[in-house]
Symmetry: C2
Subunit: 389 residues, 2 copies
C-alpha cells in the first residue's frame, strides 16, 4: 500500500541514502561499517554508572520541560568556560541534538519562510525545515585543496526577508570549519536584516591541529549578545560518546525559553531523568573523554588521509574538524551505486556523497572515529576494489 495520507512535505522527503546503502549489508557480519556518524567506543563507565544509580534511586518520573535545573546549570558552566557567560536561563535540555534542531525550526520557521543552508550538509538539517514548510536555499561550499565558503555567495543568498541561516561547523560531512572572521561578517549582515542564525555546534569540540584540551571551534556564541538572534544546538553524542542516549541542548535568547518549554512539552515533554543525571556527570567530569577522542581521531584522520590519498583516483582534503573524510573518487557520477557495490563486493560500508545534497555527488564519506586496525583493513579493501575494477 502506498501511503495515501502523506503530508505534502513528507512525500518529498528523501529516504536516507546512507540507510539505503546500509540495507545492502544487512545480515552480513563481514562488512566493515564506516557509514554512520557514530564513534565505535562504548560510553565511559562512570557516565553509565550515574544513570544506573539514578535508576536505583527511583528517578523514573517526569522532569521539568526545560530539563533538570542541575543539568541546565552544569551546561551553563561548561559553555561559559568555552564561550564566555551563557546564563542557565538560556539553556534548554532536549531529547537529542536532532530534537533540538526540530524544536528550533518549530520555533522560528513559518510555512513559506526562506531558510538558507550551507551545503553539503547532514540531510536532517535540510529536511527538518522542509517538514515545516520552509523554502530551502542551498549555498554550496567550494571544493579546492580544502572546502571553502564563498562569502559573497552566502551574503547574496541572505536577502532581506530571509528567515534564518542554518550553519553546521565543524561540518558533517566535509570537516569544513568556519573562521572567526567569517562569523563576524555573517553576524553583522544577519543583525542588519533580522535573520536568525541557527548554529549546529555538535562537533565544536572535535577540532584538530590545535592545542587540545579546551580546544573548541569558533562559535557564534563567542560573539553574540544574550539577545542576538542566535540559537546554538548541541548534543552529548559526539563529545562524550553518548550517541544512543538521545540527549542534547539549546542555547538561545532567554526570551524564547517560555515558548521552547511549551514546544518541548508537545514534542517529548522531557528527556528521561536518569539520562539527564548521566548528562550532568558527563558535562562536569568529561574533559578527559573529549581529550581522548580528539587525540584518537586526529591520529585516525592522519592515518586514513595518507592511505586514501595514496590510492589512484582518490583525492581527499584533510578536514579540520568533525570525524569524516569526504573524498572525491575521480570519474564517479553515481556514488550511491558505488557505495552499494563496495558493500557487496568489498565488504566496505561508506556513505554516498549525494546523501548530503546534490553538491555532494562524486564524493564519499568515511567516518574515521574508529581503530587504526579497522581503518587499515578498510583502506586495504578499498585499494583492492579499485585495482580490480
Amino acid at each position: 500500500m502506498k501511503n495515501p495520507a502523506a503530508r505534502f512535505a513528507v512525500q518529498s522527503l528523501g529516504a536516507s541514502r546512507i540507510r539505503e546503502v546500509a540495507n545492502v549489508g544487512i545480515g552480513r557480519a563481514d562488512v566493515l561499517p564506516f557509514w554512520f556518524g557514530e564513534p565505535d567506543e562504548v560510553t565511559p563507565a562512570f557516565i553509565r554508572d550515574a544513570a544506573k544509580q539514578a535508576l536505583d534511586a527511583g528517578d523514573t518520573f517526569y522532569t521539568h520541560n526545560l530539563g533538570l535545573p542541575q543539568l541546565r546549570e552544569a551546561i551553563s558552566h561548561y559553555l561559559s568556560a568555552l564561550h564566555g557567560p551563557i546564563a542557565t536561563e538560556r539553556i534548554a535540555v532536549t531529547s537529542s541534538g536532532v530534537s533540538a534542531l526540530m524544536l528550533v525550526s518549530q520555533l522560528i520557521v513559518n510555512p513559506g519562510d526562506r531558510v538558507v543552508a550551507v551545503t553539503p550538509l547532514w540531510p536532517n538539517l535540510i529536511e527538518i525545515p522542509k517538514i515545516l514548510g520552509a523554502e530551502m536555499v542551498q549555498v554550496p561550499l567550494q571544493f579546492g585543496h580544502t572546502w571553502e565558503l564563498d562569502m559573497q555567495r552566502l551574503l547574496d543568498a541572505l536577502t532581506p526577508g530571509t528567515r534564518a541561516v542554518y550553519l553546521n561547523s565543524p561540518n558533517n560531512p566535509t570537516g569544513w570549519v568556519i573562521t572567526r572572521a567569517q562569523q563576524e561578517v555573517i553576524l553583522a549582515h544577519c543583525r542588519r536584516h533580522g535573520i536568525w542564525i541557527m548554529a549546529d555546534d555538535v562537533y565544536e569540540r572535535l577540532v584538530y591541529d590545535t592545542a587540545g584540551g579546551q580546544a573548541c571551534a569558533p562559535s557564534f556564541l563567542d560573539l553574540a549578545t544574550p539577545e542576538d538572534r542566535i540559537i546554538s544546538a548541541n548534543s552529548f553524542s559526539k563529545s562524550w560518546l553518548m550517541t544512543g542516549w538521545r540527549l542534547g541542548w539549546l542555547a538561545a535568547p532567554a526570551g524564547m525559553m517560555a515558548d521552547l518549554g511549551k514546544l518541548i512539552e508537545y514534542n517529548t515533554s522531557c528527556a528521561p531523568g536518569f539520562v539527564q543525571r548521566a548528562g550532568i556527570v558527563a558535562v562536569e567530569h568529561g574533559a578527559e573523554i573529549i581529550a581522548h577522542s580528539v587525540t584518537r581521531y586526529q591520529t585516525a584522520r592522519d592515518f586514513l588521509y595518507e592511505r586514501l590519498n595514496a590510492l589512484p583516483r582518490i583525492l581527499s582534503p584533510k578536514p579540520k574538524g568533525a570525524m569524516y573524510l569526504f573524498f572525491r573518487v575521480d570519474g564517479e557520477r553515481d556514488t550511491l551505486a558505488l557505495c552499494k557495490q563496495l558493500v557487496r563486493e568489498a565488504g566496505l560500508g561508506l556513505a554516498p556523497g549525494s546523501a548530503f545534497g546534490p553538491e555532494g555527488e562524486g564524493y564519499v564519506r568515511w567516518c574515521f572515529a574508529s581503530s587504526l586496525e579497522r581503518l587499515d583493513e578498510g583502506a586495504r579493501r578499498l585499494a583492492r576494489f579499485l585495482e580490480d575494477r
Copy 2:
C-alpha cells in the same frame, strides 16, 4: 525580551495552566500534588534492571529508527493478544507517547487541514495539530450523570474534507470511555469520507468495574483492517509505571512505516537502546503491574468519589477509565484562580478544568493514582478549604 521570532502557531499556544498552578507551589514541601497525570509509584525493579543490564552490556549506540526489532515484535504480540493480529511491520517505537502524537500529526496533517477533536482533552492533543497549522474543531462531551458523547454532533462536525478526528478514550481528563457501538458508527462514517482516526490509547488498560486481568477499553484496532486509516498511539507511561522513560509506540498501516521512519529520524532518530530493552521486559512480563495498578486505582477512585461527593458544592461522576476524577465545583467560574488559591491556602495541588479547553471551565481534575492515605489527607484539606470559604 519578548520573543521576536515566534512562529505564528507558537505565539497562540497556551502556556500550560496546570504548570501555572504548580508554579505557585514551587519550594513548598507541604503541598500535596495531584495535578499531574503521573502515578506515584517508582518503575518496578525488574524493568529498571533490564535497562541497567543493557548499560552494563554497552548498549549505548543508535538503534533502528523504527525501534529494536525485538521490541517491535514484543509490542506486536502484546497488541495482537488484546486486539487481534497486529503485525510487527505495523509497529513503530517512539520517544514517548507525546512524540508518537507529534509524528502522526506531522505525517497526516497539512497546514489549513480541518481536524476534529472530542473535548475536554489533554491539551497536547489540541496544540500539536495547531503547531502544524491545522484548523481545530472541538466537539464537547455532554455532562450529566457521566460524560457522554453526542454522536450526531460529532458526525455533523466530521464533514467531507475533514482530515482527521482525534479521540482519546479512556479520556484524560473526564474518564469517558467510548463504546464499541460508537466506534462502529464513527469508523463507518470516516471510511465513507476518507477521514483519519487518530486514537490516543494510552489509558486503554486502565478501565474499571471489569473482569480485570486482560481487561482493555474498546479500541478501533479491534475493528480495523490493516489498511484502514486508523493510527493508534500508545505509551509505556501509564500501563507500566514508566512516565519518566519517554517510551511509546504507534500502530499504523504498514504502508506508512517508511515515511514514519523518516520522520522519526528527523524528530529524535530513535529511543535509547537501553530504554527499549526495559520496554521489552515491561511488555513481555508486565501483566501483573497492570493488574496491580487497576486494582489500586479502582479502590482509589471509589474512595475519592465517595469523599468528594459528600462535600457541599461538589459533583463528581464516577469515571470508567483513566486515573482522574473530573468534578464540578458549583458556582466556580474561574477554576484557575481556585486551584491557585487551593495551593496557597490549603496546600492542595489540583488541575484547573480550563486547562483542558473552554468546556472544562467549572471543573477540577484530581489524579487519583496515589495512596489512600494521601487521598484522604487531600480530601480533608479540600473539605476544610470549602468550609472556611
